[in-house]
């Protein structure tokens, strides 16, 4: 969206993708001579930027980041750092006086227009839903919650709207950004639904502008429509059967990693009147009558439908927002040889534009492979009981020989696997206590360097607000055992660790969280 806005006004820019804090530092050093204005997207809000990057006095940073909490220095600095957030965004930042002791007389407190001052000192207790988390003393975890709010894409779309330069393409990108947050479980369902309602207003505004009965729009223009569609991942680009087998929701519902589960699925399909032969075909080749009635037929499974948007341009190209999210994510983290992260980023960016359909379709293929790999790994982990309860959390380690383990050396894929695994585990275990534990997962990252990547996710719950405490917990555990860790990712709940330090790190984590 930002690129499109720059194009409109002929502004020159350089785009630099960064994978972590080190990358950010190097990129900044390379470019700081030539540029004065820096826009940071999805990074930089929760660290003291000025201290980390040491910029010149006339560089100005615009930060659009949904990671919380925001570092206080970033909020209170009014010259060099500008935060792009919504007016009613509750940053819960303690008031200026409580933190900074000013030497000079004037006490400028113009943070008022940027943040809603909660005036809670950081020692104050916060309320949670989970019983097990409530007992944690807040002094340690006072500001460790990762509560992501409005996605950057929506922020930029609102900006474009204010400038009246918003187009359907930008609206679509904003929707994809929102869906990405939901697919990767970064926001709660309530927040997703509220944001969908906001987007729905924009969609109606755009569609009413152009479509009357007499003046129909050319078929090549992009049409965005609101859909109350099935939660089966990628089902329109796959066969229905495959999609049911590989979507987290249906897989857990039927427990498809057991033989019994597969039989239940067959019975279910038979009950619904969907012939097996049809269902195993590519979706577009299924009978029209089945396709049209599909949503009504599958309705009785609880929560199978989700509100989302679909885009159509040309006769052949119909995509749901979640399709594009999976495709872009798969492209971003593809593990082909000889592809640097920057290349992957550019490819993923290309796949979002309408003119690069080949890219998008290859992304969808990669996403299919990734989903199949995830489901197989989940099945094998559950069947071989690889998930161990370590007391305050569940733990799972993927050995090096596991098939497709290379796919899981990337943070997003591993987080997705983690989420599905936890859901499946909760559905399959009978131990009531285990159902409310969070999950920590480790997988080999780089065999030559001997590092593993560790990810932690909060416990599975309907009403959780997705606060993730593992960032701080990982940091403390690493300090106390002096393990060699790398906290490079912008998402603090993902770290790299040396393989040899794994055991002692784990032990420290257990003692910390008990």
């Amino acid at each position: 969206i930002l690129q499109a806005l720059f194009h409109c006004d002929h502004i020159q820019y350089t785009l630099v993708p960064v994978t972590g804090w080190q990358d950010l530092g190097t990129a900044f050093l390379e470019h700081k001579e030539q540029f004065r204005y820096f826009v940071l997207i999805n990074c930089g809000a929760n660290v003291d930027l000025l201290e980390m990057l040491q910029p010149d006095d006339d560089s100005i940073f615009f930060i659009c980041d949904s990671h919380r909490p925001v570092d206080v220095v970033n909020v209170y600095n009014d010259t060099q750092i500008k935060l792009l957030i919504k007016q009613d965004d509750d940053l819960a930042v303690p008031s200026y006086d409580e933190i900074f002791r000013d030497e000079d007389e004037e006490n400028e407190d113009d943070s008022g227009n940027e943040s809603d001052e909660g005036s809670e000192p950081s020692g104050k207790r916060r309320r949670f839903d989970e019983v097990s988390w409530e007992s944690r003393p807040n002094e340690t975890y006072g500001r460790t919650d990762k509560n992501t709010l409005i996605p950057a894409a929506m922020m930029f779309f609102e900006l474009a709207w204010v400038l009246t330069k918003d187009t359907k393409d930008m609206l679509w990108w904003a929707i994809v950004g929102l869906t990405d947050q939901w697919v990767h479980d970064k926001i709660t369902h309530m927040k997703y639904v509220t944001d969908i309602a906001t987007m729905q207003r924009h969609v109606s505004r755009h569609s009413h502008r152009n479509e009357d009965d007499e003046n129909t729009l050319s078929i090549d223009c992009m049409r965005i429509s609101f859909e109350y569609d099935l939660r089966l991942t990628l089902y329109q680009h796959w066969s229905l059967y495959e999609s049911i087998c590989n979507s987290c929701y249906t897989c857990c519902h039927f427990k498809l990693w057991t033989l019994n589960g597969q039989k239940k699925l067959q019975e279910y399909l038979a009950d619904m009147g969907l012939p097996l032969k049809q269902v195993k075909q590519k979706f577009n080749s299924m009978d029209m009558s089945i396709k049209e009635n599909l949503r009504d037929v599958i309705e009785d499974m609880k929560d199978i439908r989700i509100q989302t948007f679909g885009a159509q341009f040309g006769f052949k190209n119909r995509f749901l927002a979640s399709d594009m999210v999976h495709a872009a994510a798969a492209l971003l983290e593809s593990t082909e040889k000889d592809e640097s992260d920057t290349d992957n980023f550019i490819k993923a960016l290309d796949s979002l534009s309408r003119s690069n359909l080949n890219r998008l379709l290859s992304g969808i293929d990669l996403a299919k492979k990734k989903l199949i790999a995830i489901q197989q790994t989940v099945a094998s982990c559950i069947c071989t009981n690889l998930i161990l309860s370590q007391g305050p959390f569940l733990y799972c380690y993927l050995m090096e020989g596991t098939p497709d383990v290379k796919l899981f050396s990337k943070p997003m894929a591993l987080s997705l696997l983690c989420k599905y695994l936890l859901k499946a585990f909760v559905h399959s275990t009978r131990n009531k206590r285990c159902k409310i534990l969070p999950l920590v997962m480790a997988a080999p990252k780089d065999v030559e360097k001997g590092t593993i990547i560790v990810v932690g996710i909060p416990p599975e719950s309907e009403t959780s607000d997705k606060k993730n405490f593992f960032g701080r917990a990982f940091e403390k555990a690493a300090e106390s055992t002096s393990s060699r860790t790398l906290h490079d990712h912008f998402d603090t709940s993902v770290i790299e660790l040396k393989m040899e330090d794994r055991i002692k790190f784990l032990d420290a984590l257990i003692t910390l969280l008990s």
Binding site: C8, H10, T164, K165, T167, E214, T216, S218, D220, C221
Partner: protein, 186 residues
């Protein structure tokens, strides 16, 4: 001439736009372009209109002739007549292509207009080919064709001239007393 050159010339045609920004009168070498006020229609050359549209600074209003019923009438007329009928605009093909490629969301029933204009073009080119064919085979000395547009002329130009050249060479070699038996390479 290259088709892209013809398109370049076509971009000088004026179209109506509704800008969403304001700008004072601008003085260009080719002429003045009136002050731009948001919401008020103004005539600008096509190249400027397309530039503004791509930067989302305006909305383009399709020319009067770009309308389904009018184009249908023209198409029927073209099919009935043997000669060439007057065209809605000397650059109708280029205008249609450019406007439908860049601003199809501002043009109602864009798909039908595209098919209609293509039909008109096909009919005219067919007539052109027929007449060129009869011109060459009957070895006429001159012909007069009304109502042709530059794009159509450009399409046939190279072929017609080359074939007439070849015919001339063939004829001049047949006549006795011409420069020996020199068989030139065609």
């Amino acid at each position: 001439m290259d088709p892209s050159e013809v398109e370049f010339l076509a971009e000088k045609e004026l179209v109506k736009i509704i800008p969403n920004f304001s700008l004072d009168k601008i003085y260009l070498i080719g002429g003045d372009l009136g002050p731009f006020n948001p919401g008020l229609p103004v005539d600008v050359p096509l190249w400027l209109a397309l530039n503004f549209k791509q930067r989302q600074k305006c909305r383009i209003i399709p020319p009067d002739w770009m309308d389904v019923e009018k184009l249908e009438e023209i198409r029927e007329l073209e099919k009935r007549e043997e000669a060439f009928t007057p065209v809605p605009s000397p650059y109708y093909m280029e205008l249609t292509k450019l406007l439908l490629n860049h601003a199809s969301d501002n043009i109602p029933k864009a798909d039908e207009i595209r098919t209609l204009v293509k039909d008109i073009w096909d009919t005219r080119i067919a007539k052109l080919r027929l007449s060129a064919d009869s011109f060459i085979s009957q070895q006429e000395a001159h012909a007069k064709l009304d109502n042709l547009t530059l794009m159509e002329i450009n399409t046939i130009r190279e072929f017609l001239l080359d074939s007439l050249n070849c015919m001339y060479k063939l004829r001049s070699n047949l006549q006795p007393g011409s420069s020996g038996r020199t068989f030139t390479d065609f």
